[in-house]
């Protein structure tokens, strides 16, 4: 038995409501379902923050959907500070007004992260499915004015990867100190949109080279995080830092998940912060214990030829589920997986379309 790890991060999905409709949203496809209608109260969240701190959590991501749609967002930030958590607001920026910014600062919000869908205004608005570019720039300026550390994030895919140099320049212009360039992960809404999002290898290589040049030119004043797309790797990433190793995700209805996409794994039983303590959920619940550690692993993970069991923890369970039908299989991104060909063939640009299925709360979408 490995000792029980301590979580360092809590991802609080405050609501699935969002003014944007990004076609790669990490939220579940059934965000409009009845199960998500009943949202946690202010007290539920405050209690969860305190329990998280007692478990060892240091970082809190206030996200969604759009977290600024919660009417109690200022109270939630105050509760986070009271629980000694370092809080980040992960926002689309469209609702970040001067009044809001000031109240959030006073309540103790530590950090603001604003999404940019593309540095090209019209393209940003097309990808977001909402006219939002100008509001995002205004939000970034406000974050600076109120002396928040500012991160920009841009999810990368075939339709915006060629704008990466422009995105890096925009980061400098807006005075952000961090830029997250995350290539799309194929979970949530990115699954039905995979054909419209999958980049070419040449795009990825050009993007990486642009990031490298920027780092050399600008130095440590701006941190650029560059996350390679899984589909162009030969070894899997330690998804979420390992299942049940570092992170707890709490959905708007209180369900506690080891990752944002874990609800796509059939038969997993989730604890709920309305009914159980976070300590019990972390240590005992089916969802967190099922794939924790290495005992659950099958071949080739069970006798990993390169000894990466506790390095990548078998990769992504949701990806294994989606591509092999078995959530306990080796992540097919791994070159040693019998299903690695399914990843390789998805790189083939032959069957690609640029049409998006936009994220929405109504009609069900089947991937």
């Amino acid at each position: 038995m490995q000792p029980l790890p301590r979580p360092s991060s809590l991802v609080a999905e405050l609501t699935y409501q969002c003014p944007l409709h990004c076609p790669y949203c990490s939220n579940p496809l059934d965000i409009g379902a009845a199960t998500y209608q009943s949202q946690l109260s202010t007290d539920d969240w405050a209690r969860t923050f305190h329990q998280a701190h007692a478990l060892g959590v240091l970082q809190l991501a206030l996200t969604g959907g759009e977290p600024l749609l919660r009417k109690d967002i200022v109270e939630l930030c105050a509760a986070a500070r009271e629980a000694s958590l370092y809080s980040s607001l992960i926002t689309a920026g469209t609702l970040f007004t001067a009044e809001r910014a000031e109240a959030l600062k006073q309540a103790g919000l530590d950090h603001v992260q604003i999404s940019i869908q593309s540095p090209e205004p019209a393209e940003n608005d097309r990808i977001a499915g909402n006219r939002s570019f100008d509001k995002k720039l205004a939000a970034a300026a406000l974050a600076k004015e109120f002396d928040f550390p500012l991160t920009l994030n841009c999810v990368l895919h075939r339709q915006n990867l060629d704008r990466i140099e422009q995105m890096l320049e925009l980061t400098l212009e807006l005075g952000a100190q961090r830029l997250e360039l995350a290539n799309t992960q194929y979970t949530g809404w990115a699954v039905p949109n995979q054909d419209a999002l999958m980049p070419t290898w040449e795009q990825v290589q050009r993007g990486e080279a642009a990031v490298q040049r920027f780092r050399e030119r600008v130095g440590p004043a701006v941190q650029v995080l560059w996350v390679l797309p899984d589909y162009y790797e030969e070894l899997p990433k330690p998804c979420m830092g390992g299942w049940g190793q570092t992170t707890i995700v709490v959905a708007p209805n209180g369900d506690a998940l080891p990752c944002q996409a874990a609800s796509t794994i059939p038969g997993l039983e989730f604890g709920n912060v309305r009914e159980q303590s976070l300590e019990w959920i972390w240590a005992e619940s089916d969802a967190f214990t099922r794939f924790r550690g290495t005992d659950w692993m099958q071949e080739p993970c069970a006798s990993c030829p390169i000894g990466h069991q506790e390095h990548d923890w078998g990769g992504c369970r949701c990806q294994a589920m989606r591509l092999t039908g078995d959530p306990a299989a080796t992540d097919p991104v791994c070159q040693f997986s019998n299903h690695h060909d399914r990843v390789v063939s998805a790189r083939d640009p032959a069957h690609q379309s640029d049409e998006f299925i936009y994220r929405h709360l109504k009609r069900p979408v089947h991937s």
């Binding site: 360092s8 240091l58 370092y86 992260q113 991160t151 100190q177 961090r178 440590p220 941190q223």
Partner: protein, 88 residues
């Protein structure tokens, strides 16, 4: 480095669960040994490097801390965690 200060948004904290000092930063945490925490506690952008060394030296029974402080602050500046209030 003239007047070192923590990067915007960095916050010193004590992690009582793991019993260690940490520097909390946007979406991350840097573990600190007690001495490093002492140094960073003085990096407020108003004290000069010299003042910081003098204060620490007094705390540590007159030991010469200049090299250690410089080494630590250079390493943290390389990672963007500390910068110079005098140059911005």
């Amino acid at each position: 480095m003239n007047r070192p200060r923590l990067m915007t948004g960095a916050r010193l904290s004590f992690d009582s669960v793991r019993d260690e000092h940490v520097l909390l930063i946007p979406e991350g945490a840097v573990k600190l040994n007690p001495t490093a925490a002492d140094v960073l506690g003085l990096c407020d952008g108003t004290r000069s490097l010299e003042q910081i060394c003098t204060e620490l030296s007094a705390r540590y029974k007159g030991a010469d801390v200049t090299d250690d402080v410089n080494g630590l602050l250079d390493a943290l500046a390389q990672r963007g965690l500390v910068n110079d209030a005098a140059t911005s």
